[in-house]
Symmetry: C2
């Protein structure tokens, strides 16, 4: 694919997807901050542009609408759950893996990452009252569902567009979405985070139940040496 992945930044148009993601996230941060501070309707494209230091035209080149500016930061807030699913070794139960990763996240995550997560939670909360943001949240979850389909497909040795895989992915990501809404709302209401120390098993059980047990338990026939990356 790429002609060269030398070292610094983009290699003649190849690396630019990575760069694009960063710019979009940057915009999304400022947009989310403004949305939270003043509401979506009270925030203009010009304001977002000024806040991030770009021209308004460039904002519209990166996002097709004002509301969709919120998507990356919201996707980001569930990104670790996704990457956790991706790195899920076959011989572990979902709760064990999630618990370990959650712990690692608590220790290793950047302040920036945590701020992003907080911002994402606020956006999800805001989606309750602002229909425009609800669309953004649902679109982000739609993305998650597609990723989930790939993950489940590889884990169950099927194809991402098999009906069963799609059903599993849809149900699992819907469950994940509800839990995110639930925990996020609670956290914003001032509930002690340690209240959710069982989040791992909560998620695991929800996913397991939503997929009829197809996803959640250690995969048989997989030894500890790890067949997959």
């Amino acid at each position: 694919m790429g002609t060269a992945e030398t070292s610094t930044e983009r290699g003649r148009g190849g690396m630019s997807e990575h760069r694009r993601r960063r710019v979009r996230l940057e915009i999304s941060r400022e947009a989310a901050r403004l949305f939270w501070q003043q509401g979506v309707d009270a925030t203009s494209g010009d304001q977002i542009a000024a806040a991030v230091g770009l021209s308004t035209r460039t904002i519209w080149r990166h996002f097709r609408s004002k509301e969709s500016c919120a998507e990356p930061i919201v996707t980001q807030s569930v990104a670790w759950e996704m990457s956790t699913l991706r790195s899920w070794p076959p011989h572990l139960s979902l709760e064990d893996h999630f618990a370990a990763e959650a712990d690692r996240f608590g220790r290793e995550s950047t302040a920036l990452e945590q701020a992003d997560t907080a911002l994402g939670i606020r956006m999800i909360r805001l989606a309750d009252s602002e229909p425009a943001l609800r669309t953004a949240w649902l679109m982000a979850c739609d993305q998650v569902e597609h990723e989930m389909a790939e993950i489940i497909a590889t884990r169950l040795d099927g194809k991402p567009d098999d009906l069963d895989v799609r059903l599993h992915a849809a149900a699992a990501s819907a469950a994940l979405r509800v839990i995110n809404e639930y925990i996020g709302a609670a956290l914003l209401d001032g509930v002690d985070p340690r209240e959710f120390s069982d989040a791992a098993s909560l998620i695991a059980n929800a996913v397991r139940r939503a997929t009829g047990g197809a996803v959640g338990d250690p995969v048989e026939g997989a030894d500890e040496t790890g067949t997959d990356a």
Copy 2:
């Protein structure tokens, strides 16, 4: 609630919600037709207004955005599934009930209703390629999820905002969504509708699996006389 539900139409502001739904559906029909014929981007608010015979201003009074004009017709296309779920007697299995209702729908439905359903299917298909319509479809499914939460809450004797009820509703409606996308796409690809004579069991099994078996089977402790309407 209503001051008077005499006979004809609206009773001094009370009946107007019903009327509002009809107008919205009317607009949605024309919008969907135009979206399908020329694409979403190529369709302007003015065109929709002209097609339905209202002023553009009135369109924006009924819908907050162009894309959301598609929501009613799309919601309509899953409306019978919802009403079927609502009328689901406790002592029946989901497949039996669905099969019976589907049969009844095939016999009793109006030509207009069938046209609406076809239009809805087209919108769902269009949502694959048009992000703007995908948001509308997802928002419609979000509505379905809320209805589903109420249905499940009553059936399981819980409250609609219980975490478990929400999880069940989310997973079940997500499954329903995927099946709708799947069957709709197949039908538009020219697959013989009789190919999906097992749709009832397909849906029932998907819902049952998505809810961990909590929804789908006859409810115990409910005799055939029927406790609920």
